[in-house]
């Protein structure tokens, strides 16, 4: 339930409103400001809290949009895909196996260049049916042309939702974006969020213009005819180009966001926390950053030179910037809230992406891989300390233990 709080004294210069809302509600606020046209819902925890919030806004007249409750995630995603091709600004989302049920539709949106914005309330995949967070759901589309970003606060969820439309609907990109929010920690907990004015948002976010791809009697085109081997690789090549253009578009969008709203990160790609002189750099996506920041502060107090990198954008992956940021470290510890059974070193997805990115780097510090917090299990300070200690050992020896460590498992 969204409670509006008083704007604190002294901030009158800002026409932002301050609200106590969950990450999902923050997303819904952004969608309202973005004047969403079509949204489709289907129940699955934890993402469905955003649809509940949207339903209220529509019921209360705060948002005018076609709100369709579909009969399954497959239809849920197909409906907005088609709404987008006739020029509507659309929103969709899901979690866990719901996202998997929509998989066929998730594969077609990038080649069709549909700038769909989605929220993934990250959730463990069945079986067993668990509500807690794991990142494997969103990661399943990492090769398909989706832009993927992880956020760690309700404020970042709101800001990123506005950024997502600006980036996805840029004609140079026209690709779908999935914003990942950790189940429970973000989707179900409320925090103080600065909500900007509609006027500011209108300045930042131009209307969606489908242009020459608009499906309309005034622009007669045939979209997605069946193609044989004479055409497919060219079409994939175009998709690859659109993904490459996203690097520039993302940096432009964040720069403009800071100009318009007076907040937002200098570096869109990842958050660096106490990394300047860090010997050990820990890495993890989403809310895993929060216990790690606490642990890092405690360890810094003891004089341990440790820092954190929290990747935001996983696709497109900021290879050069990431490699540069890691050059100073004596050891790197990557904590995955996902699994990739049978992968190199049995590591999680993020760890192996970092390994791949580092392969041609001048300096390749030892990289340790950890799997932690699966099924939504809390990440404890003990987990943080254990990971850090192992990293410092590796920093001394200069060698990576190849085995991937599972943290917080009963053994």
């Amino acid at each position: 339930m969204a409670v509006e709080t008083k704007t604190p004294a002294g901030t009158t210069a800002s026409d932002d409103r301050e609200m106590l809302i969950s990450g999902s509600e923050a997303c819904a606020e952004a969608l309202t400001l973005a004047d969403l046209d079509v949204v489709t819902a289907y129940p699955i925890r934890p993402y469905d809290t955003v649809m509940q919030a949207i339903a209220k806004k529509i019921a209360n007249g705060q948002l005018e949009a076609e709100y369709i409750v579909a009969e399954g995630e497959h239809s849920q995603f197909e409906i907005v895909k088609h709404a987008s091709t006739v020029g509507a600004r659309v929103f969709c989302g899901s979690s866990g196996v719901g996202w998997m049920y929509a998989m066929e539709c998730l594969t077609v949106t990038p080649p069709l260049r549909v700038p769909m914005v989605c929220m993934v309330g990250n959730r463990a995949l069945d079986d067993p049916g668990a509500f807690g967070v794991e990142h494997n759901d969103a990661l399943t589309v990492r090769d398909l042309g989706w832009l993927l970003i992880w956020v760690d606060t309700a404020q970042e969820m709101l800001d990123t939702t506005l950024l997502a439309y600006r980036i996805a609907e840029d004609r140079r990109v026209f690709l779908p974006i999935a914003i990942s929010a950790d189940g429970a920690f973000l989707t179900h907990s409320q925090a103080i969020v600065q909500v900007p004015s509609r006027a500011k948002v209108d300045k930042f976010l131009p209307p969606y213009n489908r242009g020459d791809l608009l499906l309309h009697p005034d622009n007669p085109i045939t979209v997605a005819p069946q193609a044989n081997e004479d055409w497919v690789i060219e079409i994939r090549r175009q998709n690859n180009e659109a993904m490459n253009r996203a690097y520039t578009v993302i940096e432009e969008a964040y720069a403009d966001f800071r100009k318009t709203f007076g907040r937002g990160p200098e570096n869109p790609w990842f958050e660096e926390y106490m990394t300047e002189d860090a010997e050990v750099i820990l890495m993890g996506m989403g809310t895993i950053s929060l216990p790690f920041k606490v642990g890092i502060r405690n360890m810094r107090a003891k004089g341990m030179k440790v820092g954190l990198i929290r990747p935001r954008w996983f696709r497109p992956f900021p290879t050069e910037k990431m490699v540069t940021a890691l050059q100073g470290a004596k050891a790197i510890g990557v904590i995955d809230r996902d699994y990739s059974f049978g992968s190199p070193f049995g590591s999680g997805v993020v760890a192996n992406e970092i390994r791949a990115a580092m392969y041609n780097a001048d300096k390749r510090p030892p990289l340790l891989s950890f799997i932690c917090g699966l099924g939504g299990r809390e990440v404890t300070l003990e987990d943080v300390y254990k990971a850090t200690d192992l990293c410092f050992e590796a920093a001394k020896t200069g060698k990576s233990p190849l085995k991937t460590q599972w943290l917080g498992v009963r053994e």
């Binding site: 020459d212 007669p220 979209v223 005819p225 004479d230 079409i235 175009q238």
Partner: protein, 402 residues
């Protein structure tokens, strides 16, 4: 080390099973001499469409290593023998958009062989078959194109006769005995079919084709756009709406320029405009929107987009107004309506010649009723022509004597 590559060019669906039998037969015959082989259909043709030209291939080699050089391909770069099982394909084939019109002998290697089933003479066929930069041989098996469908097969021995002929063309790879043995072992085989193969072997007519011979027209072709020239979002422009034929009257639909479809046709409608009652049925029932509406309310089948299904003849209520005529009776795709209005008596004579000839209007185009193929084979036996063992369709006189 040696290998032998063969393609079968055929009518989709109508001859799918026939082509498969031929290619399997080639590999299994070669196997008799310990050779290795593969048989496959051109993947892009599958799923096939009735009448749209398709290809199957058979490749045999002395060793598996040599065979590997020809595997994981959709289509060989060249073939020793091109087998064409419907002579209306001699006008060339267009299987896909942007594919252009490909001469029937395009893949035939220099001094290779084009083997066709046909009742036409080499001279007649070479009016249609495009010129080739290199000499090759044209070998003929006297037979009508064998058409059936997916489920019911016309057992007219065509596959056996082609295999027998191949033994004559490539004795080094397929001995006649090996071919006959393979035929008898096949699930469709029989002694009589083996006899058909031997007869085809004995009586195969072949003649060299010089580079000066053949149809001189340059087949239409296209250049595919580069990735950055293509529209994004897997989108392509729609077809513009058509326009009146002339003086604001009639109507000519715009047509897709990249796929013309006429090489799918084995018979074309010949229209007696004087008999037309302007009922519109041919026009409205045509699945290929191929009829232009003339200013005087007649309907002119556009011969670049007509695929020869025959529905227009089937629905026409006026007696003898629309007659389907075999494609080999025609030289070009000219408009019949234009011919008619330019010179009516000349058109009536032209039309009369076309529909008069019996063998040009007889239709065997797939299943119509149970026992139909058996009846057709019996007729072919009776039509006879050349002296040969009894019981073999297509080229049998002895059958008539019984």
């Amino acid at each position: 080390m040696a290998h032998f590559t063969c393609e079968v060019v055929y009518r989709g669906i109508f001859q799918k099973n026939l082509a498969a039998r031929i290619c399997r037969g080639i590999v299994l015959s070669a196997r008799k001499a310990g050779r290795w082989g593969i048989a496959f259909g051109r993947y892009g043709d599958s799923p096939q469409r009735n009448g749209i030209p398709a290809k199957d291939f058979a490749i045999v080699a002395d060793t598996q290593e040599e065979l590997e050089q020809n595997m994981a391909r959709y289509e060989p770069k060249e073939v020793d023998v091109t087998i064409c099982v419907d002579d209306t394909l001699s006008k060339g084939v267009e299987s896909w958009a942007w594919y252009g019109l490909q001469p029937i002998n395009r893949l035939t290697t220099p001094n290779g062989t084009l083997l066709m089933t046909s009742l036409q003479s080499p001279t007649e066929l070479l009016k249609d078959i495009h010129k080739k930069e290199a000499p090759y041989n044209l070998a003929l098996i006297p037979a009508k194109a064998s058409f059936s469908g997916l489920w019911v097969y016309k057992e007219d021995h065509t596959e056996a006769r082609i295999l027998g002929a191949l033994a004559k063309i490539q004795p080094g790879f397929l001995s006649l005995d090996a071919v006959c043995a393979a035929i008898q072992e096949a699930e469709w085989g029989s002694e009589l079919k083996a006899a058909s193969a031997r007869k085809a072997f004995e009586r195969l007519e072949s003649r060299p084709v010089k580079i000066t011979e053949g149809n001189a027209e340059t087949p239409f072709s296209f250049e595919k756009p580069k990735w950055w020239e293509m529209r994004e979002g897997v989108s392509i422009p729609a077809i513009p709406i058509g326009k009146p034929m002339e003086g604001g009257k009639g109507y000519v639909p715009e047509r897709n320029p990249y796929f013309k479809k006429f090489t799918t046709r084995t018979m074309r409608p010949v229209i007696d405009f004087d008999k037309c009652v302007k009922c519109t049925l041919c026009w409205i029932q045509c699945p290929d929107s191929c009829f232009d509406v003339t200013p005087d309310g007649l309907y002119d089948a556009n011969m670049e987009s007509c695929c020869g299904c025959g529905v227009c003849e089937a629905v026409c209520p006026a007696k003898d107004c629309v007659t389907m005529v075999r494609e080999d009776a025609f030289e070009d795709n000219a408009s019949q309506y234009e011919m008619w209005r330019r010179d009516k008596p000349a058109y009536v004579k032209w039309m009369g010649d076309k529909i008069a000839s019996k063998e040009h209007v007889v239709r065997s185009h797939g299943f119509r009723f149970r026992g139909q193929y058996a009846e057709e084979i019996k007729q072919e036996l009776e039509q006879g022509g050349i002296e040969i063992t009894a019981g073999i369709p297509g080229e049998n006189a002895a059958g008539k004597l019984r």
